[in-house]
Symmetry: C2
DNA sequence: TGACTTTCGTTTATCGATAATTTATTCTTG
DNA sequence: CAAGAATAAATTATCGATAAACGAAAGTCA
């Protein structure tokens, strides 16, 4: 584990984040500054700053003089993301329709990639391309603030958790994105927005149902 | 300037934030760690952490080895907030209608306070109560993620900037909130949502118009 | 002259050590 | 034996100092 390229803070942050997302650190686990510093052979300072960043990103929570823990993402919180996503992605799609001017090649590629991932049985890749599809729309909308808000929801991290629990046939899942694509190709912003909103809300309800399982 | 109560980091952060919001530090101004540390009689560390927090909050931007500057909030960015606000506040109002169960006393108090501020010619207080009205709705919706996203838009800071430029009669401004209040009192979530969305979009357009002035 | 290199001052990034605080443990004392 | 005070152990928060990186200014060579 060589730490040389970027700033130590950045590198440590990325490593810790990977460990959190991959479940190596479990929710509630303590993240002790000096202990981590020792592991990486650095001093306390860059570790401390990394933890603060992860706190701002919502992956870690900390209390003064009591240290940092991996934050538990409750099922409730997971479900609460969807109404927000639905609302802002609708706005994004409406604006994206105009900006894309029918150029939906990149979106089509993501749907194709979802199918390939489905063939390979690669759930992780499928989720990535699913998220990428949504991200492309958000990025096409031209509203920086909206993009920033969407990013702050950390869809990647959360979708990963929730999708595993749903039981939709993978190819069907991929095809569910096509109506949105077609609306965008046709330049019909309001329709694309409505469809995308319903699409997201649908998954939100799936998560809610999974709650009782 | 005694710094004793909370952690130094917290205190320094608040002071710096005040200075930024009150315009004592102008956009583009450099924030030099050791210089600030010297001013407060602390070491570099807590100042550094404060700056990182302000960076995460979007008030400061920094480049490795080149330091931090006060971030300029462009007119464009200011305008881009409104579509996002409109979308999530609509969602908030729909949910709030059910949760409030007609109990809109707090909202009514904010409208009254806006009128008092209008009488006093206290623009700052007026903005505060305006924002508080919206915050109450957002907090009543019960969705923590939505609340967090709304907070991250830092409406207080931005409204302050934009309202000054508009030229709406203060009492009229206060009354513009009443239809939303009444819809919530009646428990009509969809209506309250629509009204709130239009209300926010209206101000978004005002900002856009001001752009050409 | 003008492009390239070198040097120097400024500032950030990191370090190792100390102070402050919390939590757990042990010791009273009724 | 229980409640509370005192102590000990662990960890964070802060410090002061050093190393690394950057930008500007001075110097070098065609």
């Amino acid at each position: 584990m060589t730490l040389t390229r970027k700033s130590l803070r950045q590198q440590i942050k990325e490593i810790l984040l990977t460990r959190i997302l991959q479940g190596e650190y479990r929710p509630g686990d303590r993240l002790i500054e000096l202990q981590i510093a020792q592991e990486f052979g650095t001093s306390q300072a860059p570790v401390r700053e990394s933890l603060r960043e992860l706190e701002a990103l919502g992956f870690v929570e900390s209390v003064p003089y009591r240290g940092a823990r991996v934050r538990a993402v409750s099922q409730q919180e997971l479900a609460e993301v969807y109404p927000v996503r639905a609302a802002i992605e609708e706005v994004a799609a409406r604006a994206a329709a105009a900006n894309l001017a029918g150029e939906v090649g990149a979106l089509e590629a993501e749907i194709a990639a979802m199918h390939r991932a489905a063939d390979d049985g690669d759930l992780y890749a499928q989720v990535c391309h699913d998220v990428a599809f949504h991200r492309l729309i958000v990025e096409a909308c031209g509203n920086r603030v909206l993009q920033e808000v969407w990013r702050s929801l950390r869809i990647e991290a959360r979708t990963l958790i929730s999708v595993v629990k749903t039981e939709i046939e993978p190819h069907h899942l991929a095809e569910m994105h096509r109506p949105i694509l077609e609306a965008l190709r046709a330049g019909d912003g309001p329709l694309a927005g409505r469809l995308l909103r319903q699409h997201v809300e649908f998954f939100g309800e799936l998560v809610l149902k999974g709650e009782h399982a």
